[in-house]
Symmetry: C2
C-alpha cells in the first residue's frame, strides 16, 4: 500500500483486496491525507487476528506519533508493526525481495516527502521446451541455461544459449510521486517507467497556487512524463476545487497523450 | 457530534451538515471506531480556516493522545481545540446553554464509557396575543407573565396566568448509549426520553458474545427501552456479522414496537 489516508481501509475493502496480502505500507510524507488511515487500518488488522508482521516505511517521525496510539488503542496486538524510517534527501533502496525492489524518489514539498519507484527484477530467460527434448538436456543444466549459459552436449557440440531460450518478459517499473513540485531530478529517476503516477493538484488556473503550496499542475506533470519518456501517466491528488476533473486531463493530454485520471476504486495496469 | 469514528467527516459532508455549526464533540469512549475520525476532522476544519473554538468532551486520556498529533499535523492552527475531560463513573452535567443541557450516562464496557443525555430546558409559556390587547398589558409585564406571574390590571383586577398563557412545548430529550452492557441504571436515567439510541451489536444468536464483549443484543436494548418507557428506540452499532439487519429489528420489535434501525446518512426526529 502506498500512503494511507483516512478511510483507506474502506477503499481497500471496496477494491476486494485481501488484507492478508498487505505486508508493506509506504508512506510518502506525514500530511494527514497520506497517513490518517493507519490507526484504523492497523486496529482492523488486529481485530481480524493478523499474525504476520506489518512493515511501515515512512519518514522517521511516524513511529513516535503512531506508537502511543497503537499502545493505547491496540494493546493486545496479535502482530508486530515494524517501522522502517527512510531518509527523504536521496534515493535509497528501502525494500527488496526476489522479484522486486523499491527505491525512494526524493520530492520537494512543504515537508520531507518521497515518492517510490517499484522495479521488477530481471527474471531468467525461458528455456524452450523442445530444445530440452531435442538435446536431451539433463535437469541440472536447466538453471544454468536459463541464466545465460550455452549447452555442451555429451559429444562436445556447443549449443548457443540464444538457440535454447527466449528472453524473459521485460521488467516493469511503476513510480509514484506525491506531493511535490515538479522536479527535473524526478524525471531523471523515473526515465522510461511503464507507469508514472504523479500528483496534479491543480490545473493551469492554479499554477501560482501550486507553486505556493509545493504542488504540481496537470500540465507540469505531463511535461515531466514527456521528459522522462514514460509509457503512461496517471494523474491524481486533485484539488477539491475541480468538480469536473476533465480540465486536468485535457491540459495534461495536450502535452502527453498517454495520460489517465486516477479514479478511486479503480485498477490501472503497469504493463 | 457524538463520537467521531474514521470517515466521520465524510459522512458529515454527505449529510450536508455545515462544519461551521459544529462546536461540541462528545466522545463516549476511546475505542478507535468512536474517535479515529478526530485528526482528519480537525485537520479539515483547519484547512477551512475555522476560527471558532472546538470543544471536545471525552474521557481524560484523549487529550494526551490527540495533542501530539495536532501539534505535528496542524501546527498552524487557526482555531483552538479545548478538551473537557469527564468522569465516567457518575452522571455529570458536562454542557449547558440557554436551551440545552448534556449529562453523561455512565455505561459498562471494556473501558470507561459514557452515554449522553441531551435535554431541552423548559421554555417560558407563550403569552396569548389577544389577552395583551384585551387587558392592554404593558411590554414590561410580558416576561413576568411568560414566566408564570398573574397580571394585575390598573383597576386592581387579577387575571390569573392560566388565562393569559398557553404552556410552552414540552421539552424533548434524546439519549445516546454506546458501547455498553444493558444496564438498569441506564433505564432509570433515560426514563421517558423522546428518543433513545442504544447499541444493539448482536441479535439473540450473539447473546453470549455480547456478554463477553460488553455489548447489548437488540432484544436487551428493546427491553431496556420498554422498562424506561421511552417514546422511540433507535438501535445501531451492529456487528458486521449481520448482512441483513432486519433480524435485529424483528427481535427488538417483538419486545418494543417503536424501534427503528439506525442507518447511515439518515435523519431521525427526536419528537
Amino acid at each position: 500500500m502506498i500512503d494511507c489516508g483516512e478511510s483507506a481501509q474502506l477503499q481497500f475493502r471496496k477494491c476486494k483486496l485481501k488484507f492478508s496480502r498487505l505486508n508493506h505500507i509506504f508512506i510518502s510524507h506525514l500530511h494527514g491525507d497520506h497517513c490518517f488511515g493507519l490507526p484504523g487500518l492497523i486496529s482492523s488488522l488486529n481485530l481480524l487476528g493478523r499474525t504476520a508482521e506489518l512493515h511501515i516505511h515512512a519518514p522517521h517521525e511516524l513511529e513516535g506519533l503512531l506508537t502511543p496510539w497503537l499502545n493505547f488503542f491496540c494493546h493486545q496486538m496479535t502482530f508486530e508493526v515494524i517501522f522502517h524510517p527512510f531518509d527523504t534527501k536521496q534515493p535509497q533502496l528501502i525494500y527488496e525481495d526476489r522479484s522486486l525492489t523499491v527505491t525512494t524518489i526524493p520530492l520537494k514539498h512543504r515537508m520531507p516527502s518521497c515518492g517510490f519507484l517499484f522495479a521488477e527484477k530481471q527474471r531468467p530467460a525461458h528455456i524452450i521446451r523442445e530444445m530440452i527434448d531435442r538435446y536431451n538436456i539433463p535437469l541440472y543444466e536447466i538453471n544454468r541455461i536459463k541464466n545465460g549459459a550455452d549447452y555442451q552436449t555429451p559429444d562436445g557440440e556447443c549449443i548457443p544459449n540464444a538457440q535454447l531460450t527466449i528472453p524473459a518478459n521485460p521488467i516493469r517499473r511503476y513510480a509514484y510521486c506525491s506531493d511535490t513540485l515538479p522536479l527535473a531530478s524526478v524525471a531523471e529517476q523515473v526515465k522510461g517507467v511503464n507507469l508514472l503516477f504523479h500528483e496534479a493538484t491543480f490545473a493551469d488556473d492554479g499554477e501560482g497556487r501550486a507553486r505556493e503550496t509545493y504542488h504540481t499542475t496537470a500540465r507540469q506533470a505531463a511535461k515531466l512524463a514527456k521528459d522522462a519518456g514514460v509509457k503512461k501517466l496517471l494523474i491524481g491528488h486533485f484539488s477539491a476545487r475541480y468538480d469536473d476533473e476533465q480540465v486536468l486531463l485535457t491540459e495534461a493530454k495536450s502535452i502527453f497523450e498517454h495520460t489517465q485520471l486516477a479514479r478511486e476504486i479503480n485498477f490501472y495496469s503497469v504493463d
